[in-house]
Amino acid sequence: MRDTVLVVGAGLAGLSAATELARAGLPVLVVDQAQAVGGAIHRQPLPGVRSIASGAQKRRWAGVMAGVAAQGGRITLALGTRFGGVDHTGAVLLTGAMNRLIRPRALALALGARESVQPRPGWTLPGVETAGSLQTRLKTLAEAPAGRVLLAGSGPLLLALGAELVKLGRPPLAILEAGRPFARPLAALRLPRSYWAEAATYLTRLRLARVPILTGTHLTAIRAEGGALVAEATGGRRLTADHIALHDGIRSNDIGLPDCATLPVVRLGDCREALGARAALADGRAGGAALAARLLGRPEPAPDAELARQRAAQALLAQLYAHDGAARLADLPGDTVICRCEARTVNDLRALGPSPRARQLRLDGRFAMGPCQGRFCGDWVARLAAADNPGPDTPTPGIGAPRWPARPIAVADLLAATDETEGETR
């Protein structure tokens, strides 16, 4: 195993990196927690299920898979396998289908993005999930959930998901978009053509199905009533749904990944910088090639210019979608849950007094102390705490201390792992 480069994540970035590493002659092990390749964006359908991906998406993924296939036996793929973390000695724990403790030659982390969802009353109710979560099921099942679906939050993913629901014959009740992305068409013209083409497809499909797209509208609260979910939105709107999908943007899924001095570690794609699919493909390729060159002592290739283009496009998208939603945090009712893991509320945060420090937030407030390791509350807790006191000690952007391991590790898995590090030192 000590000659093998471990790639974590079998999405766009991970598999394109694996292809470059293998092309340079290195043995590569790719692990992914899911049962199928594709990551979040190109999640593949179950066996026998017809893909709902667009033609462009299918072509992109076919290209990635052709690259992997061309490397033959040099790439080993382990699905259903989770990355537990890397320790300071360079040991990596894998759990799940491949339950091993290994010492790879290098590590490429392509763990993708996590969704950002702003806390709201009722966001912890069953039936409320992230847009990405619902989309994963649509992609694997090619089937929409039974009942009324409401999409809310902000960002292009809501349009994509809405269009996919239309395609599956179950248009969403509405899309509540906090921003006003269509308000500045001239600025939007600066987006790359491919963005336009994609947006046009989604919007056409949504318009034909008469799905209301309510821009400048915030979903402010959800409550369970009579077996359904009642959503309250700004403008006095009230909608009753069976499923609500929330989405307020994406962030790198890079929590729990401290640097390791004993072996080369790179982060690729959304895991390094959340810029979406096009960038992930380019970054995976360039990052994989650069890591291979570094390991083999060859000159490193120049960075891919595509990354800068995508960064500019994403920045423009962020401007187009800009809204004041985060300001609403300060007005949340005191019993609103912020930390989903331990049900810590706005009141619990306020009880810490003015300008709480990162340590206080964690030790006394118990924020970001649950098993999600702050992935879903950290940004909001930091923002709420900072709203009180924008001083130099403001805990931003997260609330301190890197977390380790990378994910919760079942003690049973830890003990059952085959130790392949014995006698190997670095």
């Binding site: 049962q35 179950l46 026998g48 989770r82 912890t124 039936g127 990405g132 849950v337 989903r340 994910r407």
Partner: protein, 85 residues
């Protein structure tokens, strides 16, 4: 399409091959997976193993339903209060 049966708190739930436990339960109309030790309902939120909201008990382990592949005859129960026997 190949299918099979898992058991949630003793009740049979059909699944499709390759599907996760969470997906099968949700298609069967089961959105609440029991109660967390801190009192809130267990349910799918992020769907990709990050948020830890959909923990259930399977074969002596507490695990994310959204990552666990369904397997014929697999017995599952809520994290608290159930048993997977």
């Amino acid at each position: 399409m190949t299918t099979g049966t898992i058991f949630w708190a003793g009740q049979p739930v059909p699944f499709r091959v390759g599907e996760t436990v969470a997906s099968a339960l949700m298609r069967a109309g089961i959105a609440a997976f029991g109660t967390a030790p801190t009192g809130q309902a267990r349910a799918v939120f992020c769907g990709i193993g990050l948020c830890q909201g959909c923990l259930i008990r399977a074969e002596g382990r507490i695990t994310e339903a959204c990552l666990l592949p369904a397997r014929d005859g697999l017995r599952l129960s809520p994290e608290i209060g159930g048993d997977d026997a």
